[in-house]
């Protein structure tokens, strides 16, 4: 990689260097051309036209000036202004020529110019001389006629001499006037005339002037002519021409030199152009080569890409058709071929396209090519390829197909090349891949190899598909067999030696054996011993002879239970007729009975705890009672104490959880020396445990039962984790013992129930787990209680209850401050029932609620009467704990108070300590409600219960009633009671609570209490409970 990079860098820098060389050559050539070109610049050439025009101008001026002078010389009228203009122009023109730097660069030319200027200068001087001298001459000529006139006038005309003189003068005049325009001969004439005149006498002044002027003419005429001749002799034309010639010569030299330069430039330019041309040609060629290379590369890349795509298509394709289509799509990509299709050889010997892509798809859709012809020449390449089983690739497709029916299609799609490649599997052509192209010479070695590769790949893929198909079929077969094997019939397969090699799930479910347990075993493990040896022998005999046996047979399960089934045993033979396997399948005939069992199970089981229910318990009990042995059986009924409270406080789901856990614990019981232990859920919170002991004597059975009961209770007393919180329950248990007899299950349950009832009753008092055995008397009591209860129910309606009142006396004043209402029941037959005998029953039956309200109403109405004689007397009424469970207690009391307009502060409820302690929060709430009404609360039987002083503070207690039990022994010095009473009284005082002692019967007791500081007393010492009438009497008597 690095090597490549450096190499390419090197190549890059090389190309840069070579570029610099090329640019260098071009730059140097250009520089040289420019240099030569610069050489051709010559100011002389540039200004050639200007200089030439000046030369012509000067020449023209020369000519004009000379002409002008000639005219002036021979003409009278004159003005030098124009001549001056011309001379001035000539001067300027020459000056500018002189200043021309281009000319001064060429010495020869400059010399010629200097000569010219020099001559011109001389010429100008001569012109000035001409002007001056010509003017003088002109002056004389102007004046000459006038001078003649004056001279002639001054001469005397009479003398002959004078006439001659005149003639001579006239000759002079004529000679002078014409001299100007004639040749030099005329001047001789004038000279002669003057000489003639000289010989004469002295002339006059005027004539002298005339003679002077003629002399002047004679003097100046040759002078002017001479100047004129000199001007001509200057040969300024020659100088001019010489300069011009030199100029032309010089310029032509320069031009010639320049032509050489131009030639060199031309050569260089041509060289440069050739060089650039060659470079460009090289570049174009390189570019073309590069393009070709790139095209080839991209073609190869496309082929490579296509092959990769084909590879992935072959790998990914799940079936033949998808594969064909993908291959066609790949081959007909724009970089490859225009059209690609794959036809499958049908059983009818035709080729039908199954996948196609690219141009002309619509034609291929309906194409069917017969392959059963043998006329290769007319049928075209496909048949040829099919028959020869060889690929045919041609770049001259139309030529080869010219004679066939396909030619029109070929022309329509302008197909140039074709490749027909048969796909051969196991020597048969199963499909043909056909590729068309509209480009010429597409089928190169690379492309052909690609196509061969493609065909190979397809073949491989097709073989793979075939293998896959076969495997799939095999697997399907297997699946079908295994599904068939896994039917509801119990099946086993053994080898020839009757060893089990396979069994199905139905078998394991039926027999209870697992597959591992039976594999390698013989079916003999199932033998029930119910059939004779002959039975089996005839069975096998039939199998050997007919290959199959069918019939009903009894077998034994793993757990020993027998079952009947309809069994078939068949021998599996190999191709040689030897037994390789035996197959047995059995249809369980006990199936129907099992279904029945399940229904029963559902009927006899509790849904929540999934343990037997009451019905099943009764069944069990009946079964146990129906036995003929003399062993004792036990029936335990277990009730969860205060389950209702548990349910209410923690919720029903918690209650259900508790029940399930209790059931689980009972199920898990393992107790020695008993058997046939079974449990059941009898009621909501009642469970039963039944078991059989090995005790035959009652004396043995009873302790055993007690032990078992203790074990059970201990087990249940262990904490339960309910809703992730530990909970402890206590239970009540009723036990009854039985031996098989003529008792019914129902009666047994009744007995156990009675025992439980008693246990519950005890438990309510002790708040502990309780066990009670049933005995016969107990049963009778129970019967009595029911009867008594029924009597009580009617008692209230029959107005059999009476109220008696025991006065309460303040110790310090000995005044009657209150009365306690006490209920009495006088039956319709006249017998009086003690309160302790019927009040528990009232409470248990719940009658106490209605009776309690009757007591309050009755007491209030009595008190209202008493108030007429003793206005502030308070009435004290006992309230039972059951009454507190009445939701409407407060409202009822309030209603009564309002109804009777009774002052609440004169009403006092006495409640027991146990009530206070049982349901503290609710009790506090209710007691507070009473206190709010103004009703006072007294604690009855104080000292018998918890006597917790701390709790007292939380209740609105206004009075403590010290129980009679303490008062009885208050005078006895060896008792601890006086101290307790003393302490109670002192504590009460400290808390501001009034104390009342009940059951005071003796004077000593009164004194003792008085000494202790007790506030009030009640008891026989003052008065027994009195009827209302008697009470009135007592009050009146006491007041006295």
């Amino acid at each position: 990689m690095n090597d490549q990079t450096t190499q390419s860098n090197k190549h890059l820098s090389n190309s840069f260097l070579s570029h610099y060389k090329q640019w260098g050559v071009i730059a140097i050539s250009l520089f040289f051309i420019l240099f030569l070109f610069q050489k051709t610049f010559n100011p002389l050439l540039e200004q050639r036209s200007e200089i030439l025009s000046k030369i012509f101008y000067v020449s023209e001026l020369q000519y004009t000036i000379l002409k002008h002078i000639s005219i002036n010389k021979s003409n009278n009228t004159q003005s030098f202004d124009i001549l001056n203009y011309q001379v001035n122009a000539l001067k300027q023109a020459l000056e500018s020529l002189k200043r021309n730097s281009a000319i001064s660069e060429h010495p020869e030319l400059k010399r010629k110019l200097t000569e010219l200027i020099h001559s011109a200068h001389q010429q100008l001087l001569l012109i000035e001389q001409f002007k001056t001298n010509h003017s003088v001459l002109q002056n004389s000529l102007y004046f000459f006629p006038s001078a003649y006139e004056l001279c002639v006038q001054s001469i005397n005309t009479t003398s002959k001499n004078n006439t001659l003189l005149k003639e001579q003068l006239k000759n002079i005049l004529i000679a002078g006037l014409i001299m100007q325009n004639t040749s030099s001969g005329r001047s001789i004439q004038l000279k002669k005339a003057l000489q003639n005149l000289k010989q004469q006498n002295k002339p006059s002044l005027s004539c002298q002037t005339f003679i002077d002027h003629s002399k002047l003419l004679l003097q100046y005429t040759p002078k002017v002519s001479k100047i004129h001749d000199q001007l001509s002799e200057l040969k300024i034309d020659t100088k001019m021409h010489s300069f011009y010639t030199q100029f032309e010569k010089t310029t032509s030299q320069i031009v010639a030199k320049n032509q050489t330069y131009y030639l060199i430039i031309l050569i260089f330019t041509i060289f440069l152009l050739i060089y650039i041309g060659i470079t460009l040609t090289c570049l174009f060629r390189l570019n073309r080569d590069l393009k070709t290379t790139l095209t080839t590369l991209s073609e190869k890349q496309a082929l490579f890409k296509a092959l990769i795509q084909a590879g992935s298509a072959i790998t990914l394709s799940k079936d033949k058709k998808t594969l064909y289509q993908k291959i066609c799509n790949i081959a007909s990509q724009k970089s490859l071929f225009e059209t690609c299709w794959i036809g499958e050889v049908t059983p009818e010997h035709t080729l039908v396209p199954v996948a196609y892509a690219g141009k002309g798809k619509e034609v291929l859709k309906s194409l069917v090519i017969p392959l059963d012809s043998t006329d290769i020449k007319n049928s075209g390449i496909i048949l040829e390829s099919y028959l020869q089983k060889k690929p045919i690739i041609t770049n001259t497709f139309p030529k080869r197909m010219a004679h066939t029916v396909w030619m029109k299609l070929i022309q329509k799609f302008d197909i140039k090349g074709n490749a027909t490649l048969p796909i051969i599997i196991e020597g048969n052509v199963i499909a043909i891949l056909v590729v068309y192209t509209q480009k010429t010479n597409v089928f190169t070695k690379d492309n052909n190899e690609f196509l061969y590769q493609l065909i190979d790949d397809i073949s491989i893929a097709l073989e793979r598909f075939k293998a896959q198909d076969e495997q799939e079929k095999h697997q399907q077969d297997l699946a079908i067999s295994s599904i068939a094997f896994e039917s509801h019939e119990a099946m086993i397969i053994t080898d020839a030696t009757a060893k089990i090699i396979r069994c199905n799930r139905a078998f394991t479910q039926l027999t209870g054996y697992t597959q591992q347990e039976v594999l390698g075993q013989t079916p003999r493990i199932l033998k029930s011993e119910l059939h004779t040896k002959a039975f089996y022998e005839s069975l096998w005999k039939q199998v050997y002879s007919t290959g199959i046996w069918q019939g009903e047979i009894w077998n034994r399960k793993k757990d020993g239970t027998l079952y009947a089934c309809w069994q078939s045993i068949s021998a599996v033979l190999d191709t040689n007729g030897r037994v390789t396997h035996y197959l047995s399948h059995a249809l369980d005939l006990t199936k129907d009975k099992d279904a029945q069992c399940e229904i029963e199970r559902l009927n006899y089981h509790d849904k929540l705890t999934n343990i037997p229910n009451r019905s099943l318990l009764i069944d069990h009990l009946e079964e146990a009672l129906s036995k003929s042995h003399q062993y004792y059986g036990f029936l335990f009924l277990i009730n969860i104490n205060r389950f209702k409270l548990f349910n209410d406080s923690l919720g029903h789901s918690a209650g259900d959880e508790l029940l399930i856990k209790v059931a689980q614990r009972l199920q898990a019981l393992e107790i020695k020396s008993i058997y046939n232990l079974s449990i059941a859920r009898v009621g909501n919170d009642e469970f039963s445990v039944t078991c059989l002991s090995n005790a035959q004597a009652s004396s043995k059975a009873q302790p055993l039962a007690e032990t078992i009961a203790t074990i059970i209770q201990t087990k249940l007393n262990e904490p339960f984790i309910i809703q992730k919180e530990p909970s402890i329950i206590d239970t009540s248990m009723g036990i009854t013992l039985f031996t098989p007899c003529n008792k019914t299950a129902e009666s047994l349950l009744q007995e156990a129930n009675t025992a439980l009832y008693r246990a519950k009753k005890i438990a309510k008092q002790t708040a502990q787990s309780t066990i009670q055995f049933f005995d016969a008397t107990m049963h009778q009591k129970n019967k009595d209680r029911l009867k008594f209860e029924n009597q009580l129910r009617t008692a209230l309606a029959n107005q059999e209850f009476r109220l008696q009142y025991q006065p309460q006396i303040a110790l310090n004043t000995r005044d009657i401050i209150g009365i306690e209402a006490l209920i009495r029941w006088q039956k319709s037959d006249g017998t009086l029932v003690a309160p302790n005998d019927f009040i528990p029953t009232l409470e248990e039956s719940g009658l106490i609620i209605s009776v309690g309200m009757w007591i309050i109403e009755e007491a209030i109405s009595h008190a209202l009467i008493l108030h007429k004689i003793l206005p502030n007397i308070a009435i004290s009424i006992n309230l039972s704990a059951i009454q507190f469970s009445d939701k409407y207690l407060i409202n009822k009391v309030q209603d009564l108070l309002e109804q009777y307009q009774y002052p609440a502060e004169l009403l006092e409820f006495e409640v027991t300590e146990s009530l206070l302690m049982s349901n503290i929060e609710e009790t506090i709430q209710k007691l507070n409600a009473f206190a709010d009404l103004g009703i006072k609360i007294a604690i009855d039987d104080f000292g018998t219960g918890y006597s917790s002083l701390a709790y007292l503070k939380r209740f609105p207690v206004s009075k403590l009633k010290i129980d009679k039990a303490f008062i009885d022994d208050i005078t006895k010095s060896d008792s601890s009671d006086p101290a307790i009473v003393q302490a109670t009284i002192q504590m009460s005082k400290a808390l501001g609570i009034t104390t009342i002692a009940e059951g005071v019967e003796e004077k000593e007791q009164l004194d003792a209490l008085n000494a202790m500081g007790c506030d009030e007393i009640q008891g026989y010492y003052f008065s027994r409970p009195l009827s209302p009438n008697d009470l009135q009497d007592f009050i009146l008597k006491h007041q006295e």
Partner: protein, 338 residues
């Protein structure tokens, strides 16, 4: 490929532009030459040797204005005493009205052998073929610089003093800048401005010019006689052309020297430029030394020395009358020396 085509096209357009430009230049230079040639076709008037002064010449009026300022500016002299106008007072016919310039005495004292000449008129000087009595200056440009650096005249020694003065003068500076589009004032510009102003000092519409232009009645018979005598007595042979003189050199005294003892000859042939007779009536005293005060005397002298005769008085008067018709107008006003 596209780029090379663009480059070629661009080059072709450039080449075309160059060719067109060169062609234009060529035709321009031709027209310039034609203009030069046209100078020769100066129209000649009738067959008279004297031609009239044109009514107008094309001159840059700004240059004329600037030249006029410079012409009258004494600050161009080294001691701020003299200007061109000191010796060429336009109110005195373009001369100082003196025989010799004010500085002549001083110069004579300093350089006794150097001749001092009467100040020639500046009017119509542009029509003279050379400038000065001796014709030392070939044109007005050459002539304009001479007095500036003559120690006896404006007395400058270098151009820098003059140019400094002009540059520091905001007025001049601005005018030069506007006229010549350059930031620095050059001597050529100063000379050009002054000589252009001098070219504007021509006096057309002399009565004689009007006669030449065809007004046959403008001259009296007496004046016409004067003109005829001017021609017959040969005066015309030297005093002709547009400026009635000023177009050749001539010997002062053909028949006898004009001033015997005069120490004026600095050339062997004793030649002077023939002075112009335009406005001659206004430019007394006459001759190179200003020795002759009257025109009559001057004519008389000319007849005696150049013609060798004593001119009769009436002829003299007639010629005087003619010469007075040569007085022209400057800016529409008759020229006068009053």
């Amino acid at each position: 490929m596209n780029n090379s085509v663009k480059i070629l096209a661009g080059f072709a357009i450039f080449a075309l532009a160059v060719v067109v430009y060169l062609d234009d230049k060529k035709s321009n230079s031709l027209s310039q030459e034609e203009a030069q040639l046209s100078l020769f076709s100066q129209p000649s008037f009738q067959q008279e040797p004297i031609s009239p002064i044109p009514r107008s010449l094309s001159l840059n009026s700004q240059k004329v204005h600037l030249g006029e300022m410079l012409f009258h500016d004494v600050n161009l002299s080294h001691d701020q005493t003299l200007s061109c106008a000191s010796c060429h007072d336009l109110q005195k016919g373009g001369t100082d009205g003196r025989a010799l310039p004010v500085t002549a005495e001083y110069q004579k004292a300093k350089l006794p052998n150097t001749p001092v000449f009467n100040s020639p008129t500046v009017f119509n000087s542009s029509f003279n073929f050379v400038q000065g009595w001796e014709g030392k200056s070939l044109n007005l440009e050459q002539q304009a610089a001479i007095p500036l650096f003559n120690v006896f005249e404006m007395g400058n020694t270098t151009w820098s003093t003059i140019l400094n003065y002009l540059t520091q003068s905001p007025n001049y500076h601005l005018m030069f800048k506007e006229l010549y589009k350059t930031t620095t004032i050059t001597p050529e510009q100063v000379i050009d401005a002054i000589s252009t102003f001098e070219r504007s000092l021509f006096t057309p519409d002399a009565r004689f010019d009007l006669y030449l232009k065809g007004d046959q009645t403008i001259l009296s018979a007496y004046e016409m006689d004067g003109y005829q005598l001017f021609k017959d007595r040969g005066c015309i042979s030297c005093h002709h052309g547009i400026n009635v003189g000023g177009n050749m050199f001539q010997k002062a005294g053909i028949f006898k020297p004009l001033f015997e003892n005069a120490n004026y000859m600095n050339n062997i042939e004793k030649l002077f430029k023939v002075p112009s007779l335009r406005n001659i009536a206004l430019t007394a005293p006459y001759f190179h030394d200003g020795s002759i005060d009257s025109l009559e005397e001057a004519i008389d002298l000319m007849a005696k020395h150049q013609l060798g005769i004593t001119l009769p008085q009436d002829e003299n008067n007639k010629i005087q009358a003619f010469l007075k018709t040569l007085t022209g107008q400057y800016k529409g006003q008759w020229l006068s020396n009053e």
